[in-house]
Amino acid sequence: MSGKCFINGIAGISAQLTTDGDAFFDDVVEHTELIFRAIDPDYKKYIKPAAMRRMSKSVKMGVTASQMALDQAGIEMPDAIITGTGMGCKQDSEKFLENILHNDEQFLTPTLFIQSTHNTVGGQIALGLNCKAYNVTYVQAAASFEVALMDAKLKLLEKENQHILVGGIDEIAKNSSRLHTLDGHIKSEPLAVIDLLFSTSSGTVTSEGATFMTVTNDSSNKNIAEILDVTIFNQATPEEVEDELKEFMQRNSVEISDLDAVILGTNGDGDFDLYYHKLQQGVFADVQQIGYKHLIGEHHTASAFAYWLGCKIFNKQQLPEIVKMNKKETSSFKTILLYNQYRGKNHSFALLQQC
């Protein structure tokens, strides 16, 4: 078995115009709040009203983004559905919890509880497609999407001719999200989000979104990109990250000089961006550096957006000015490395190659 992993459909719902053709390359939506929402596509095009009535935003985003990815790949029934989410259906969990606490455990209704489980999105996609295949949900903070993708890749290694739907979803909830202002995960001073990558104060912003892709080991398809490898490691010092990077590149026989770009998860957190800075000033000094969290914000599956962006870059063979983090001019994009971490934990690397 080859264990090859190709992306042949990908869609992202985010705080930018990412469901609207190439609009992302032309228009930037500037956010001014530190907690901001994704831009809603027309969910009614993808979800029947009867099914929609109980869906919270994460379910709507997940079901819609997954259908967009399947449509793009021309797949009706995937062979597995694997999702990653940091918090799952946070809005309904929060409402149910607050109802318990405010009403002294009385007059509670089941819908919120049913919707609160982390695998609600995966389950709802299966229900909508009538897909009886493998269906697993990962909740590993900032590595939630990556561990889901690693499972998908393992599935492709185990069986030929598979098409797997894999995605990451997270939503904002009014109070739970704000709690992270109290523990310092979210910045305490106002900031124009577009300037996020230059911020040096503690904490970051928070947002929401859904990115889904179909991956396959069928190389005869019209594929967009190949995921050469993806890996995670839970904890590491900045020095250890460099060692991990070296090992990762070596096992894929890729040199730093082969990289046309690196997409970094820099989120303006003055306490933790040094993980990126060290690489930016060191091994990546001569590589085109790309950032995106000043556009779509930060959440536990924000890093899935880097795959969407990578695929777009392969497709367009150009970069919007707004994502460039250094003054390097690159004209051809064939190989891209992704690196993400959150607060020094849940690090991930991935290597994308244009098909």
């Binding site: 009203p49 009867a50 009535r53 007059f107 509670l108 089941p110 819908t111």
Partner: protein, 85 residues
């Protein structure tokens, strides 16, 4: 009784998020489940809470709901006879 039936329709539409349905779409004798309004078992549990919260009627066994929630008419009659608030 007609008031209670109207009240129930409004409450059901709100509680069950039936966004595309108007009070006038629901006939007093339409079945609420299956072919009628198309409610399901989760809605039945929601209606049990509605009975308790708004009319002080506590059902012990969810199976009891099947007969009570047959239609708006049946439900209203049951509430009239059993309400404690």
């Amino acid at each position: 009784m007609a008031d209670l039936q109207l009240e129930l329709k409004e409450k059901i539409i709100e509680q069950l998020s039936l966004e595309d349905i108007e009070v006038s779409d629901i006939d007093d004798n339409d079945p609420l489940f299956g072919d009628g309004l198309g409610l399901d078992s989760i809605d039945a549990l929601e209606l049990i809470v509605l009975l308790e919260k708004d009319y002080g009627i506590k059902l012990k066994d969810p199976k009891e709901g099947k007969a009570i929630f047959e239609s708006i008419g049946v439900m209203a009659a049951y509430i009239e006879n059993n309400r404690t608030k």
